[in-house]
């Protein structure tokens, strides 16, 4: 982008001073101005629910906010019952899309606050909060010649972005030097969203297989077996070395991307061998609220100081002090908010209300919070 956008202009010195101490974005948000440059929000322009449990949302990104690189995710904030819940979703469309739109797919989880809310509430015009894009692995600027994508379940989304980008760039297919193969694992083929898109990718030269892992019926091993599908039959069941050889016999030299559950990762590690597996670029599922263990206490990892210690169920503050740390604190009774720190992962209990909270990346008061299971805290 050559011309400075309004928000960039406004974030410069003089305007900052004019409005100090509140950032420009806060004025925009709190005044309810629908300003396309507001970098903290995005507007929903279309909503689709193609399969029984996936909400597909197309967002208009604010001018000046770039699409995340292929494979990376947008941070989306959704307000449910007054509380902002943040989740990460990879856009599923090509990174070269230039109309300022980005499409995300949200799979419903039973009891999932955000996914259920978007399933029932998302509609055009809705405003979602926007954070910084995140991603552990993205498609490198210098595209690898051969690419093998392996995904499972919700891991489909970053792979769609990578595959669409490569296909859009003419990286694979007739007359091109590169090869791209993609194995996507799902319990049943009919649960997989974006099958039309997958077919398009297939036609564009991506060796793609949707592999059912459950309820395999040989006569119905792939829902993609319509006339337009160049590969009516494919592998089935959990990942094996045979699957890789069948779809990408050349995979020994390929750059491998993985996004999926642990079981899939284990399968890939077995198929590739430890040495090859070490080079796999793995996008982790952004820690969704996992199961909460029974009873308080667990291993607390203090991320900043690198100290890990067992906490039998006392407060995180006392635990840190027992481990030799001296985190910032004040009242020790939950009223002054000086000890607030980021709980990177894991569950904590508010000892005053008894409530357990598992949302990743949230700020907690360590003087009144005890770990429930293993916890990572940014102190």
């Amino acid at each position: 982008m050559t011309a400075p956008t309004i928000s960039r202009l406004f974030s410069r010195g003089i305007t900052r001073t004019l409005l100090t101490p509140h950032p420009v974005e806060h004025y925009v948000r709190s005044l309810g101005v629908t300003w396309s440059d507001d970098p903290t929000g995005a507007t929903v322009v279309a909503v689709d629910r193609p399969v029984a449990d996936v909400t597909v949302i197309t967002l208009r990104l604010p001018a000046g906010v770039d699409r995340p690189a292929p494979g990376a995710a947008l941070e989306i904030g959704v307000v449910v019952d007054g509380v902002v819940h943040r989740r990460h979703y990879s856009p599923v469309d090509s990174a070269s899309r230039s109309d300022g739109l980005a499409t995300i797919a949200v799979r419903r989880h039973p009891g999932g606050v955000v996914s259920e809310h978007l399933w029932s509430e998302a509609s055009p015009g809705m405003r979602l909060l926007l954070g910084n894009p995140v991603g552990e692995v993205t498609l490198p600027e210098a595209r690898p010649t051969d690419v093998l994508l392996v995904s499972g379940g919700s891991g489909i989304t970053p792979m769609l972005s990578i595959a669409s980008t490569l296909a859009g760039e003419g990286h694979c297919g007739d007359g091109s030097a590169g090869r791209v193969a993609w194995l996507h694992y799902a319990r049943r083929v009919e649960d997989v969203p974006f099958r039309d898109r997958i077919r398009e990718l297939s036609r564009a030269g991506v060796e793609v297989r949707v592999v059912p892992t459950a309820d395999v019926n040989p006569s119905d091993s792939s829902d993609l077996s319509d006339s337009s599908d160049p590969s009516p039959r494919g592998p089935a069941g959990h990942l094996t070395a045979g699957h890789l050889d069948e779809v990408a016999p050349w995979h020994a030299d390929a750059t491998v991307f993985l996004c999926g559950p642990e079981g899939l990762a284990d399968g890939l590690a077995d198929a590739l061998g430890a040495e090859r597996y070490a080079d796999v670029l793995r996008e982790r599922f952004t820690a969704s609220n996992g199961p909460v263990p029974e009873g308080d206490g667990g291993t607390v990892t203090h991320v900043k100081s690198g100290v890990s210690a067992h906490n039998a169920g006392t407060t995180l503050l006392e635990g840190a002090e027992a481990a030799g740390l001296s985190p910032k604190h004040g009242c020790r009774m939950g009223i002054c908010h000086t000890c607030t720190a980021v709980r990177v992962s894991g569950a904590t209990r508010d000892l005053r209300t008894g409530e357990v909270d598992t949302e990743p990346g949230c700020l907690v008061q360590i003087c009144v919070s005890a770990p429930v299971g293993d916890v990572e805290i940014d102190i």
């Binding site: 004019l18 409005l19 005044l31 509380v83 908010h337 607030t340 209300t353």
Partner: protein, 394 residues
């Protein structure tokens, strides 16, 4: 927990004997009552916490929107500052904006009242207010020092801010003659006084604070002060070109109005007759219930209309605020009825009164305390707390 019933021994000198005859006998609050009160208050807190949701979010966002509109209106009117009514309206809008930003938004957000929303815009860990005091220093001097140690002599630095004599227990010396004068100065420059609060200058003078303790504060002051001063006294006046002096004066006036208002409201919170002070000995190893009771007895409310409550950031419900400093302040009016009933049930005073009366009360106290006079009946403690001493937590 071992129960060791200890009647509280007041540290007050028997100097008060002369007046004791005329003062009503203090209420003695039993240790059982303290515990019951603590449980009831915890129940109120739990109920409100469980009920927080969309309405509370909408409320605070509405207040923020109003504040921003008032601010922009005030700034815009300064361009018409050559018309006296426009200048006055501009000052009024800016003053109102600064009062809202200071009281109902800044003070309350920095208490963590809206942290549960997990919204970066209104989270205590990142919020900055339209005030020269950096928010992290405020959270230390106010949220921690004042709210944890409310009305404990020599611990709660809000008792006189290190410069005023606000209680008889603070010893008199000839410098105290300037008490009302110092108070007036503090009132006019309140935001600057608040900024200096965390410095504990008296402890620096006494050599109790080292340069290294102070050094960390300076960078924060400089950063905050620079932006605030540049905004109100350079950039906005300069934008209005030839109207520079008028805009400058308008912004200065708005800051003064906010200072006087904030000072008045805040001084009504703990110093009117009826609010008790405590010693470190009698508050050592407090139980939850004892902590609650101290908050109630040490605070005083201001009665008035909903508009008044908004303008004070609901610090007109100082008692409820001190019991539940991190519950959204607009919930205090609904909580107040229950708290008041609880006080009545246990024979405890619930100090409240209209603003003018409380302000007059506080100022008259500041004048009286400038002199070495004996305490009046109104200054004797109304409640003696029977303590249930806890053994240190195992």
């Amino acid at each position: 927990m071992t129960l060791l019933q200890l009647p509280t021994i007041r540290s007050k000198k028997p100097k008060a004997e002369k007046t004791a005859a005329t003062a009503p006998d203090p209420v003695v609050l039993s240790a059982e009552s303290v515990e019951i009160i603590g449980r009831e208050l915890d129940a109120i807190r739990d109920r409100v916490v469980a009920d927080l949701g969309t309405a509370d979010r909408d409320y605070i966002l509405r207040v923020v929107r109003t504040q921003r509109r008032l601010e922009l209106t005030g700034r815009a009117l300064m361009f018409l500052g050559f018309l006296p009514p426009a200048w006055l309206a501009g000052v009024a809008a800016l003053s109102a904006s600064k009062i809202l930003d200071n009281m109902e938004i800044g003070h309350n957000v920095m208490h963590g009242q809206y942290d549960w929303m997990r919204d970066d815009m209104l989270h205590s860990s990142s919020f900055e207010w339209d005030n020269v005091c950096p928010s992290d220093q405020w959270r230390h001097s106010h949220n921690y020092m004042h709210h944890t140690h409310t009305n404990i002599l020599d611990l709660d630095r809000d008792i006189g801010y290190g410069i005023l004599r606000m209680e008889y227990e603070q010893p008199w010396n000839p410098l105290r003659l300037g008490n009302p004068l110092y108070a007036f100065g503090l009132m006019m420059a309140f935001e600057w006084g608040v900024m200096l609060h965390d410095l504990e200058y008296d402890n620096v003078l006494k050599g109790k604070r080292k340069w290294s303790d102070v050094k960390g504060l300076l960078a924060g002051w400089w950063g905050k002060m620079r932006g605030q001063v540049a905004k109100d006294y350079i950039v906005h006046p300069a934008l209005t070109g030839p109207l520079f002096p008028l805009t400058f004066a308008g912004n200065l006036t708005a800051n003064l109005v906010r200072n006087v208002w904030a000072f008045s409201v805040i001084f009504c919170g703990h110093f009117p007759s009826g609010a008790q002070v405590f010693t470190q000995e009698e508050t050592a190893e407090e139980t939850r219930g004892e902590w609650y009771v101290r908050q109630m007895l040490g605070s005083a409310n201001i009665s008035g209309s909903p508009f008044m409550h908004l303008a004070t950031g609901n610090l007109s419900h100082q008692i409820e605020h001190h019991l539940f400093p991190d519950l959204p302040a607009h919930r205090y009016p609904e909580i107040a009825e229950e708290v008041r009933a609880l006080c009545e049930e246990h024979g405890l005073p619930y100090t409240t009164g209209p603003l003018w009366k409380q302000v007059a009360n506080v100022w008259s106290k500041m004048f009286r305390l400038a002199l070495p006079l004996p305490p009046t009946p109104a200054d004797t403690p109304a409640v003696l707390i029977e303590r249930r001493k806890m053994t240190p937590a195992a």
